[in-house]
Amino acid sequence: MQSLIWLAIALPLASAAVLLLAGRRADAWGHWVGVAASGAAFLVGFFALIEMLGKPAEERALDTTLYTFIPGSDLQVDVGLLADPLSITFVLLITFVGTLIHVYSVAYMEHDKDRRRFFAYLNLFVAAMLLLVLADSYLLLFVGWEGVGLASYLLIGFWNHKPEYATAANKAFVVNRIGDIGLIIAMGIMFTTFGALDFATVGQLAGNASTTTLTAIGLALLLAACGKSAQFPLQSWLGDAMAGPTPVSALIHAATMVTAGVYLIVRSAPIFNGAPDAQVVVAIVGAITLTLGALIGMAKDDIKKALAASTMSQIGYMMLAAGLGPIGYAFAIFHLVTHGFFKAGMFLGAGSVMHAMNDQVDMRRFGALKGAMVVTWVTFGLGWLAILGVPPFSGFWSKDKIIESAFVGEGWQPWVFGLTALIGAGLTAFYMSRLFFMTFHGKARWTDEVHPHESPALMTVPMIILAVGSAFLGLFLAVGDRFSHFLEPVTGHVEHHEPVLPVPVIMAATLILVAAGAVFAWLKYGRAEVAEEAPAGSLATITARNDFFQDSVNRAVFQRPGQHVTRTLVYADAAIVDGAVNKQARGWASIGEASRKVQNGQVRSYAATMLVGLVIVVAVIVVGGL
């Protein structure tokens, strides 16, 4: 099955084409085709995993070349798929969570007349994302990278009859383009340095390249990762991306696509291993984003935007881990997998809540929903415990490892990164508990017309499965470092390093901070009254509520000057380039205007002209002696 892994891409792609081309006549059954295609892709991935596990660790990677995309002497690009432990992990995460979200969407989008189109886009996304993770070269990865960007754009703007949703889609698209430039630059440097773009060759030759080159490639790749994964300073699009339908937020903007940046960094391990400076920058970006996301999450009242901020923060953890080098790669991916489960589960829970509350998202008008929606409450609660990092739930196993690894090293780095990760865990506990208590506990602050009710089984079953994953997947994968060993062929074997603080101390400090955050949230939002209208709040609250004024900053620093530049260029174009051409054309026109007078229509003057001409010709002949 490993050599047939291309089927996992082809099936959803074919399904997307069918759904889009069949048009309205597929409305009745189209969504089931979408579910089946995604499920089939999962089965392909699953059997590939089984086959892979049957082989010894070092023979597990299988690179299959499908065809030659660009045949040439200097640049030969093959379309090839690389099924190794890292990519198969992603394949399973994407298709498993993806299939559950497909099922959920059948019910969630039931009353939308464009449900078929929605499933076509979801399938397109699955195909593009699988291409991204299965590609065996940066160029093919870039194809998938752009494909998921397109699918994300189409799905954020799925309800584009609302202008602000369409704007959100555009914003996501434009910010992602900035990141894409990073990937293009990285590929350009790679090609001039190594003469190839496939992972195998780049990985082999990376050791020979100079540190400067590797740092340049690393920073360009980081820019790409920042764009796709909503990391500082390109994080501004993710909050607005919540304009898309909630299953999209769960699949694309929480579980899979936004983690592509982490995948890119881990996949480029040979480059980053040779560029310590770039690694530190990756870790710093991760640390900044995890703090920024947590602070924003503390102030948001919109349940989806709070979850989006949390996603940003958790991906910050993954980036931090990826920036730590070989010691963190496996944990970054581990946290990515567990996060995929619990965050997708919580987003689906949020969707279920919105479903019950007439699509309201303001948590200040929720409260006391645990009685009305028991399944949602329990599944969301498991996700909440997982993201908090409460043992023995999934998040504990992955996040605790990242915090431990962050404390490993020399000099200032372990202290800065370690303490940031540690404090981040406390902040996470606070804002996630705030979200949980405001939604499900306390007094009901519902608007008059809502009648909360539990969602149908098609929605609750995927939530239950994801909640089971949130609870036990971490434990299952962490036993005997099973997952780390599975990834070792890709991430490399690492000797154990001792953190600067003893491990039990770190673990205890983490748990104490988490408990403190949760208790504080309970006192403030569980037991105490929550105002139905958001209070004005302190300067810090306002800052966080406005995403640290990222939009204003972007507007002042990039948009305004950019507009001035374009206006100047437009003026220069009109005055100088067009001006020169138009002046010249006007000159020719006036010459024509003048010579037009000669054509007076008088036969006799024509005859006179001919005679004069004849006389001149004769005179020339006679005088010139010809």
Partner: protein, 99 residues
């Protein structure tokens, strides 16, 4: 008699013809001027033929006569058509080609 005199006569006749074409408004008269210019050319050709002692010039003169006959047919037909259309054969009135 000096053959050059015929050439001079031809030049005079040509000048008269071209003056008629340029100065007269009546299409018929202008047309007569054209004929005069053609015949001046014929006279010059025959004179050159005599000067050089060859027959080429005379043969050329026959060609010119044939062409002139055809030209008269076409030209007069055009003049009649113009007259039918405009009730006038003034050369200055039709100026549709004015740019």
């Amino acid at each position: 008699m000096n053959p050059m005199n015929y050439v001079i006569l031809a030049a005079i006749l040509f000048s008269i013809g071209s003056a008629a074409v340029l100065l007269r408004r009546n299409a018929i008269v202008a047309f007569m001027g054209v004929e005069l210019m053609l015949n001046a050319a014929n006279l010059a050709l025959v004179a050159f033929s005599r000067i050089h002692g060859e027959l080429n010039g005379q043969i050329m003169a026959f060609f010119v006569m044939v062409v002139a006959a055809a030209e008269v047919v076409v030209g007069l037909a055009i003049i009649i058509a113009v007259f039918r259309a405009r009730q006038s054969i003034s050369l200055d009135e039709p100026a549709e080609l004015k740019g």
